[in-house]
Amino acid sequence: MHALDWVVLLATLALIVGYGVFKTRKSATAGELLSGSKDVSLYTVGLGIMATQASAITFLSTPGQAYAYDMGFIQFYFGMPLAVVLVSAFFVPAYRKMRAVTAYQFLEQRFDRKTRLFTAALFLTSRGLSAGITIFAPAIVLSAALELPLNLMIVIIGIIVLFYTVSGGSAAVAVTQKWQMSTILIGMGIAAAILVDRIPVSMSDAYLIAGEMGKLNIINTSLDPGTRYTLWSGLTGGLFLALSYLGTDQSQVQRYLGAGEERTSRFGLLFNGVFKIPMQFSILTIGVLLFVFYSFIQPPVFFNQTEVARAPESVQLELSAIEADFKEVFEQKKSMLLAADWSTSHKLAEEQEALRASYMELLESSVPNFQPKDTDYVFITFVLTYLPKGLVGLLLAVIISAAMSSTAGEVSALATTTYVDYYRVFRGEVAHNEKRVIRSLTAVWGVAAIFVALAAPLYENLIQLVNVLGSLFYGTILGIFLIGLFIKHVKARALFIAAVVGQVTVLVFHTLTVFDVVSLGFLWYNVIGSVTVLAVALTVQRFMKMTYS
């Protein structure tokens, strides 16, 4: 990487982090460490919610999704605006009425302490693990792209996050997230503009090519529950997932409860409802533009060049032969696209895919622990190869900022929940220095996240587990909160039985899916969990009433 890129990268990161630390250096009270400064605008709240949601892998992986498949992933976010309205109308007033710092405090007031501690523990387990993966996932891509050791990359990102999160707590997280998100949006905008400039055909032709080659498939109305992203799974499963994430996950709740006024909390949420789908659509559009770009500028057969470089000498000749064939097919396809011969273009695209498959087979058989997924490397390869000096540094700052903003939001929420829902509950009466305890807990969670990230390569299944872990518990947690908010006559005992039954039901469906007995997209776990908890709680409560009356 050029020296100018290093200067831009380091200066951007230093400015954002330095500003966050400076702004909160003296003023940070215990309350601000826990939930942030009261004096924040709706933009800080709105951008903070989006920044916590959007991890670095969002910006690396999403363009790759559209490049390799289509834009159908956007349907995953269709439930978000509905969820935002429900959280703003019902969850926020309930939390603010009792001046809650964490979502789980509400559960003790409504049910009992056991329910509060149980739900907070589910959050700490799943978020604690996923904070590590939030660092690990982009670090693996960045280390391969920058040719830096993976562990060094993890430690660098982790230490910077620790530095300002421990120092300024939730207040520093909010201040930095606003600037991190602004940098992300500016950087992605510049990347899109350069991509448009580099595409050698007009935008209307680019649109036509993308559409005819199947990249503009956005809405899928299939009723097959095994299809992961459809209009229906987005509107139902996506709604339940967004509702439990925005309404019950402390890393989100903390961002909007920190505001001094209720209207700021609610407007911050609505900001997310308005801009989330357009933002994700823009990122997917970058992926489609990359597809058109690489239809005219030859792409590598396999985007993760680090894996290709690991191939032994003995297969290099065979790999080169496939590369030559790939180039030939690419040139033919380019001519057919320019001639608007779509059926031949499709056939040639299939030929290209077949060559890519043999290339990957060869790598798989000759490279130990070969990583076959290269969609995360499509965007970063473009950035590193085609962006002018200086802008490469800015785009890397974008990706690292995204990693830092979501990790910081998670670590801060973990510390707040540990302090408010456990430390203050069990040791609150013992005199203690609040700020010191909160900062220590933040440091502990930050270090834990770094260790999980460092251990991640040792346990391949860990990443898959963490990805699905949220959906395994979210349904049950949402069911508990929905009963708490809307079904007043259900009491703690009936709810606890329902929560256990709901959780077991989700785990049974997950096991059946793993063993291919049923075919179920993971978004449906959220619906199954919530609906089971609601149905069982109502039935048990009715039964108990009949028994005791």
Binding site: F78, P81, R96, G211, G214, L216, E261, R263, L270
Partner: protein, 37 residues
């Protein structure tokens, strides 16, 4: 003390706006998809 001014806002208007925007986006996406099917 923080003041609670949430009651002075006509929230229903904003909620309808957010949902209407989502419906418009889905309709637009459906139209784009249908163009090439």
């Amino acid at each position: 003390m923080t003041k609670n001014s949430a009651t002075t806002v006509n929230w229903k208007k904003y909620y309808v706006g957010v949902i209407a925007l989502m419906v418009a986006e889905i309709v637009l996406f459906y139209y784009i998809t249908r163009q090439f099917v």
